[in-house]
């Protein structure tokens, strides 16, 4: 007996919860993979091998030139054509968001590593550190503070962009919301709730990023 207003929201909570879980899973998985991929990209770019650099730059430019939503469609419709099997939309969303996110985080990491004084690398090499040791003990720890605020901003964008997954059929919080609207016509309420849902997740992250940036640029 779905009525209107906040009562409707309360009753729909379990459903919306399931949808939210999808949205958040996609976001969190993508954030995790993006971070790993991004650090890898950033480190590899600073190693400055000629052809590796070219490949990575091509990857970056492709994800910059082609909007994320287009990538979602390319993979979702193109995958079956190339590989014969269809890919579940959830996996497709995580894949695209991870690859795109990794390029964004990667550029942040690369910029942070690049901004370190060149002497740090030379001093590390001069005491015989190998490349993995150099990055692990000397360069990445120092880059960490510079990387974190911009990376949090990328995370925020990943969460917002995960909303596009509904357009390739993922039953996320938006889809659930739309199903409720179909039954009850409460579009203002539901879309308003969805608006606030994303806002209350993303705003704290943005604020945290700003606080950290201010605090750490004094160091």
């Amino acid at each position: 007996m779905a009525s209107s207003g906040l009562e409707l929201l309360w009753v729909s909570l379990p459903q919306l919860g399931k949808g939210a879980a999808q949205t958040l899973s996609i976001s969190l998985l993508s954030i995790a993979f993006s971070t790993l991929g991004g650090v890898l990209y950033g480190v590899l770019r600073t190693l400055d091998h000629k052809w590796l650099n070219a490949v990575l730059r091509l990857y970056l430019e492709l994800f910059r030139a082609i909007p994320v939503l287009v990538w979602l469609y390319l993979l979702f419709f193109g995958f079956p054509i190339f590989f014969g099997i269809s890919i579940p939309s959830f996996t497709c969303a995580v894949l695209v968001l991870s690859l795109w996110g990794a390029s964004e985080v990667g550029e942040v990491v690369r910029g942070a590593l690049h901004s370190l004084p060149r002497g740090q690398r030379e001093a590390g090499l001069s005491i015989g550190l190998s490349d993995p040791q150099l990055y692990g003990y000397v360069l990445l720890p120092q880059a960490l503070k510079r990387m974190t605020p911009p990376t949090i901003n990328v995370y925020t964008r990943i969460i917002k962009t995960s909303s596009l997954a509904v357009l390739i059929g993922v039953v996320d919080v938006i889809k659930v919301g739309q199903q409720i609207i179909e039954r009850t016509y409460e579009s203002v309420l539901i879309y308003g709730a969805l608006f606030l849902f994303f806002f209350f997740i993303c705003y704290p992250l943005s604020a945290a990023s700003r606080v950290l940036e201010r605090r750490w640029t004094q160091a």
Binding site: A65, I66, P67, V70, G78, L164, I174, V188, Y191, C202
Partner: protein, 221 residues
């Protein structure tokens, strides 16, 4: 894997039109966002506390929510309150809402980056508020903001693909329609990819060049 080139050629007029729509939506959104941002920046320069906080709230709301949700709200929810809007109009309104917030932030940063010494020397030669704004603050803030502004313009242009969700016939929507009609998925996706690369790659390369040239200018002066 061979492409049906004949088919591709037959769709080119439609895609050209779609590119036109993409550019239309994008450029109008850029213009309106810039207008909103300029108004906001002017208000921010004069530091009225109540309005400053209001603009801050607007920026946070617009930047921390997805474009898609904003779009759905305007297109689906507002009619429930009596306003019926076309997909195109909803797209423009939403993108102005989002773009205005981003550009406001860019201009705000640009204004704050103008050294206070400039304001002081301007005042000391007797410039009024408006003159200060026109001749000292905005030109310098403008140049400092240029790369950021351009980057956000490109961003807005790329985000037009999202408005395909409300049936605006830009490039993605057109691609989807043709796939649904003719099942030439591979060909249509190839065309879409090519258009994106041709349209957006030169812009991002231009942005890199702009950033580099402006860096030189700053250190040289």
């Amino acid at each position: 894997m061979t492409l049906d080139y004949a088919f591709i050629l037959s769709t080119l007029p439609a895609f050209l039109k779609a590119v036109g729509v993409t550019l239309q939506v994008g450029l109008i959104a850029i213009a309106t966002s810039l207008l909103v941002a300029l108004i906001n920046a002017t208000i921010l320069v004069f530091r009225t506390p109540y309005l400053q906080r209001l603009i801050g709230l607007y920026v946070e709301l617009a930047r921390n929510t997805p474009l898609l949700i904003q779009l759905f709200f305007v297109y689906f929810a507002l009619p429930a309150l009596g306003l019926k809007i076309s997909g195109f109009a909803a797209a423009i309104i939403t993108m102005t809402f989002l773009g205005g917030a981003y550009l406001t932030e860019v201009l705000r940063a640009g204004v704050e980056a103008v050294p206070t010494a400039q304001l002081e020397s301007g005042r000391s030669i007797g410039l009024s508020h408006w003159q200060l704004l026109r001749h000292v603050i905005l030109p310098q803030a403008g140049i400092l903001s240029l790369p950021s502004l351009f980057a956000n313009f490109i961003f807005l242009l790329k985000e037009t693909t999202v408005v395909s969700a409300v049936a605006v016939p830009e490039i993605l929507y057109t691609t989807k329609s043709y796939i649904a009609l003719y099942y030439k998925t591979y060909e249509m996706l190839a065309v879409l990819t090519l258009i994106c690369v041709l349209l957006f790659l030169p812009l991002s390369l231009l942005l890199s060049r702009l950033e580099r040239r402006l860096q030189h200018g700053q250190f040289g002066s």
